[in-house]
């Protein structure tokens, strides 16, 4: 089961897997924009632009 959400940037269709975890990154297949999935308290799904890679990112 997946859910489709509209890309805030280009209006493309982004597929969200049903077992998505808040904080996961999804990409718009049309424009390539990366979003972080935010699960709201009322069970809704919001997308916010993903953080851009910082110079201290890694392992």
């Amino acid at each position: 089961m997946t859910l489709n959400v509209k890309c805030p940037e280009c209006d493309g269709e982004i597929e969200i897997p049903s077992d998505v975890i808040s904080g996961e990154i999804v990409s718009c297949p049309d424009c390539g924009m990366d979003y972080e999935v935010v699960l709201t308290e009322d069970g809704g799904i919001e997308l916010k632009p993903a953080e851009i890679e910082g110079e201290d990112w890694g392992e």
Binding site: I21, S22, G23, E24, I25, E36, A50, E51, G54, E55, D56, W57, G58, E59
Partner: protein, 287 residues
């Protein structure tokens, strides 16, 4: 049992694997997105424990964010995996090298300089080719192979222009004659869990999986085990990935990672690393 949390800022493959492993082991793992939290430093530890539990698996992709969260939680008596001192040392390549040298773990010849002037002198002593790395950074980012004076000048000048304080610290290592691979060894506590070879992708000499490096299983020989445990102990222990190279004189450790990415290692060895990390957290929580 004390409550366990996972503190993150991005859900990578590894965080998903940890969440799944906790579910399979019937461990109630609290998920805390660090991007949305603030912590009052005067807050009673008992209030912090409501959100974070008492044992925290700190998995932030941003090193400084994770380090500061670890410092805060640890000062309130929470146990963080990995502890602050370990994260501090492992997050800085010079601090790691110093800890390894002190413990007698073999490392590549490493020189450190603090200005461009010192950097040129260090390179003169080390000779070419040399490897230049930022002291803080991961995934092979800005790791450069310096082949001659001209490329050295270009690299050092461009670092100077960035006005980034950390990039004014010059960390150089000898280029070790090695097969086109390095070895990653995962240690948890005093156990060696798995090891993989990481082969550099075509067109790059770096072996980082984040750069397209490919993982293959590596046998846990006595030398591999011993090197990994010594290196892990040298930086303070915990859940760690020890990276080393096969030099003509034996294994040389060049890095120890404290927020381990283990997707490549898992795909190469099939070892359920996520489950092992959760079990370790449970063991800590039972103490």
């Amino acid at each position: 049992m004390k409550e366990i949390s996972l503190v993150y800022d991005r859900i990578r493959w590894e965080e998903k694997a940890l969440i799944k492993a906790a579910r399979n082991e019937n461990v109630d793992l609290k998920l805390v997105d660090s991007k949305g939290v603030y912590i009052d430093t005067l807050k009673e530890p008992s209030k912090l424990k409501v959100d974070f539990g008492e044992v925290v698996i700190q998995r932030c992709i941003s090193y400084f964010r994770g380090l500061h969260i670890t410092a805060t939680l640890e000062s309130k008596g929470l146990y963080v995996i990995n502890p602050f001192d370990v994260s501090l040392v492992c997050g800085n390549k010079l601090f790691t090298t110093l800890a390894l040298v002190k413990a007698g773990v073999p490392v590549p010849k490493t020189l450190i300089a603090f200005t461009d002037e010192g950097a040129f002198k260090a390179l003169k002593e080390l000779g070419y080719p040399a490897v230049m790395k930022p002291v803080v950074g991961s995934w092979g980012r800005l790791v450069a192979l310096v082949k001659d004076d001209d490329s050295a000048r270009a690299l050092i000048e461009s670092r100077k222009e960035t006005r980034n304080a950390l990039l004014q610290i010059y960390y150089f290592q000898e280029y070790v004659e090695r097969p086109p691979r390095d070895i990653r060894i995962l240690t948890i506590g005093d156990e060696v869990v798995a090891a993989s070879y990481r082969y550099s992708p075509s067109g790059d000499w770096r072996t980082n999986v984040a750069r397209g490096g490919v993982s293959k299983p590596c046998p846990l020989t006595e030398e591999v085990r011993e090197t990994a445990l010594k290196a892990s102990e040298a930086v303070g222990g915990g859940v760690l990935a020890v990276d080393c190279m096969e030099s003509p004189y034996g294994l040389l450790v060049h890095e120890v990672n404290s927020t381990v990415e283990f997707r490549g290692l898992y795909s190469a060895t099939g070892v359920d690393i996520a489950r092992r990390i959760i079990s370790y957290a449970v063991e800590v929580a039972r103490r």
